[in-house]
């Protein structure tokens, strides 16, 4: 795409006296991790295509505190939360969308008691709403008829009961959706949650991501679809470990839509 998409910040909007329709909460992985940045960019392309008036916090965004809280550091979590809430409330944010289920869960469920009340959506929910409103069209394309399995992120699925939004999007891509034996409310974790992403696993006979990847491979997929940057990393590592990275892609649902549309 030749046209450079502009990513406005809240500060710029404020300076212009404008308010965006939605705040895109990028998250640490989405900002810094090379793999996750691709998801961020794919989502921004979709926002742009649908004509969504969005902005990001940019350098004013901080870790939501999820890994600190789940590691047991409530103090650090609340410091982070209050800092973020102060920033978001100063900008009078009403609606937040994020590509990370951990940020999604934390802002949605744990910020309200600390004074942060926003309508929070996971990007698959937001994309689905764009579809429903007719602002974004998704049909068929590159993945039509391909065997795809969806790995439920714990913090989107079990934690918040959202199993269908990502699947609805995949159905719009007319893929052949094949479920793993543990899916939806019984979906197996990728192994990254609860701050495990940032430490070595305890002694066991296998890594969790390898176990989950094996379940995914049982469905003989062409793509493992994910909805979380951390799951994405864990599943990509798993696929590499099984030396299948040449035949099986691990992609975020947003990336798949953007690819299908050749954005």
């Amino acid at each position: 795409m030749s046209e450079q998409i502009k990513v406005p910040t809240m500060a710029q909007y404020m300076a212009e006296g404008k308010k965006p329709e939605v705040l895109f909460w990028v998250g640490c992985a989405g900002s810094f991790d090379d793999r996750a940045k691709k998801i961020t960019k794919a989502f921004v392309k979709l926002l742009h295509k649908a004509g969504v008036d969005f902005a990001v916090l940019g350098t004013e965004e901080s870790c939501t505190g999820d890994p600190a809280k789940r590691a047991g550091n409530e103090f650090l979590f609340q410091m982070q939360a209050m800092t973020n809430i102060e920033v978001m409330n100063a900008y009078e944010i009403k609606k937040v969308v994020t590509t990370c289920p951990h940020c999604f869960n934390t802002i949605k469920n744990e910020y309200p008691e600390l004074g942060g009340n926003y309508q929070v959506m996971h990007h698959t929910q937001f994309l689905k709403s764009l579809l429903n409103e007719g602002r974004l069209k998704v049909e068929g394309g590159k993945y039509k008829g391909k065997r795809i399995t969806f790995h439920d992120p714990c913090y989107l699925g079990r934690a918040n009961g959202e199993y269908e939004a990502p699947r609805d999007l995949l159905r719009k891509l007319e893929v052949e959706l094949i479920e793993m034996k543990s899916c939806k409310s019984k979906g197996l974790c990728c192994g990254a949650g609860g701050a495990q992403m940032f430490k070595d696993a305890e002694k066991g006979d296998k890594e969790v991501n390898i176990h989950r990847t094996e379940q995914a491979l049982e469905t003989k997929p062409e793509v493992v679809a994910a909805g979380c940057p951390f799951c994405n990393t864990m599943m990509s590592d798993g696929v590499k470990n099984k030396e299948k990275e040449d035949t099986i892609e691990v992609l975020d649902v947003a990336e798949m839509i953007a690819n299908a549309e050749e954005l």
Binding site: S31, D33, A71, E202, K203
Partner: protein, 444 residues
């Protein structure tokens, strides 16, 4: 002389009730050793959840074989207890089958009880086979060795014996009715026990009466004993599943509670108007700051402690746990079992020392639950989702992690690095916050 059976019955009944009340009081006291937590809001939602999940067994059938067998035993247990009411009235009043005046209704009731008793018998035998012969993984875990395994089997044996006694009692009664023996009016229907009757064909009426009375007494005494076995067993769930589901978490499972004590401190720290050198309020009395997190059972809240007594060690949580599936030490079921064992130990300590806890140099952390177990959790909520009666082992793991990190600074080194990064540069990795928008500058 004719009142002797009634007097004996009253003694047995009173003893059973008194002992049961004593156990309930102890149970209540132990649970209330826990910290307070507000689980009394939204009564209508809680009640509906209890009806659906506890009474309606909605989560049990997620595993169809075990679920359906369990429903049979559960329905059998609840309905056959109507018969126990008659037995108790008969025992006190010295009557025999006092409800028999109900005629066809009585026949229907007794007939249904018999069919249910038979189905319970079959289910319990299948349960025993599953538990002891089929090598089902969740019944083979380390934490089930010894007492928990025996406990589970004792419960099954108890149920087999009770059902057999019930059917024997009915069969002897039925034969006596057919012999038109005095005191045994024709009443009831015996679709199952009539198959046992041929075994008693050649017995005299006197022997039949002895058989019928023995089975009757053994059956009701068995129930009294079983009632009082509950407190010492994992079987308490037949009573506690209901309050446990009622008081269980009704919010999104991903919402972990925010510690209020921390909120107050953080607010103070971030308040530009706060005077950092201000004297604390309540001057004079050194306020002992509340302990963060949990290192012992009594640091947990009463709902978590109620859950520890409610857990029936089915192991659905453990079999869904990603850490456990990949060979780590963590087992959510063990977390609940350890919590109960430690709480019982604290309760015994209180009993021995006239209600005052004497330091025993032990705690839930390390002496029961190891750090290795706690750090293996991915907080994925699979255990919480799997529990058929609303138990939340994850909340205990989280409380104990809080203690480790906030009281002991004992997080694994890599986690300390991640947390230092969050503190210094607002991300778990060592990237500069000023670079957060670099991805956009690279071009979308």
């Amino acid at each position: 002389m004719e009142f002797i059976p009634q007097i004996l019955f009253l003694i047995a009944l009173t003893a059973a009730v008194l002992f049961f009340v004593k156990n309930v009081k102890r149970l209540r006291r132990n649970i209330l050793l826990g910290k307070d937590v507000d689980r009394k809001d939204k009564k209508d939602i809680r009640f509906k959840k209890m009806m659906r999940v506890a009474l309606g067994q909605s989560k049990m059938v997620k595993r169809p074989i075990a679920g359906i067998l369990h429903i049979i035993v559960y329905v059998g247990f609840v309905i056959i207890n109507i018969e126990v009411l008659e037995i108790i009235i008969d025992g006190i009043a010295g009557t025999h089958r006092v409800f028999s005046f109900l005629g066809p209704v009585y026949s229907f009731l007794i007939g249904s009880f018999e069919i249910l008793a038979f189905l319970v018998l079959v289910s319990v035998i299948v349960f025993w086979i599953r538990r002891n012969m089929l090598n089902i993984k969740r019944f083979l875990s380390k934490e089930l060795k010894g007492w928990p395994k025996n406990d589970a089997n004792y419960i099954l044996y108890f149920e087999v014996v009770l059902m057999l006694l019930f059917l024997t009692m009915n069969a002897a009664d039925y034969q006596l009715q057919q012999n038109a023996y005095e005191g045994y009016v024709e009443a009831g229907a015996y679709p199952i026990s009539s198959f046992i009757v041929p075994l008693f064909e050649n017995m005299s009426n006197a022997s039949l009466v002895i058989l019928e009375r023995s089975a009757w007494w053994a059956h009701i005494l068995g129930i009294f004993i079983f009632l009082n076995y509950l407190y010492y067993s994992k079987h308490l769930h037949i009573l506690l599943a209901f309050p446990n589901v009622y008081f269980s978490n009704i919010e999104n499972q991903g919402k972990f509670k925010n510690l209020e004590s921390v909120t107050n401190e953080v607010k103070l720290m971030m308040d530009p108007n706060a005077d950092p050198f201000a004297e604390p309020e309540n001057e004079g009395e050194e306020e002992v700051p509340e302990k963060f997190g949990a290192s012992d059972a009594t640091d947990l809240n009463w709902f978590q402690l109620l859950s520890a007594y409610t857990c029936t060690e089915c192991g659905r949580c453990t079999s869904e746990c990603p850490a456990n599936q990949t060979g780590k030490k963590l087992s959510p079921r063990k977390i609940m079992m350890d919590t109960r064992d430690r709480l019982e130990e604290i309760g015994d300590n209180l009993n021995k020392n006239k209600g005052e806890f004497k330091d025993d140099g032990k705690q839930l952390l390390d002496d029961y639950i190891s750090r290795e177990e706690l750090w293996a959790c991915t907080t994925c909520n699979a255990c919480v989702e799997a529990c058929p009666i609303g138990i939340d082992p994850l909340s205990i793991i989280m409380d104990m992690r809080q203690y480790l990190v906030m009281e002991q600074s004992a997080a694994p080194a890599e986690l300390n690095n991640a947390m230092t990064n969050i503190e210094n540069n607002a991300a778990p990795w060592p990237y500069n916050q000023q670079d957060r928008l670099k991805w956009a500058e690279e071009g979308v």
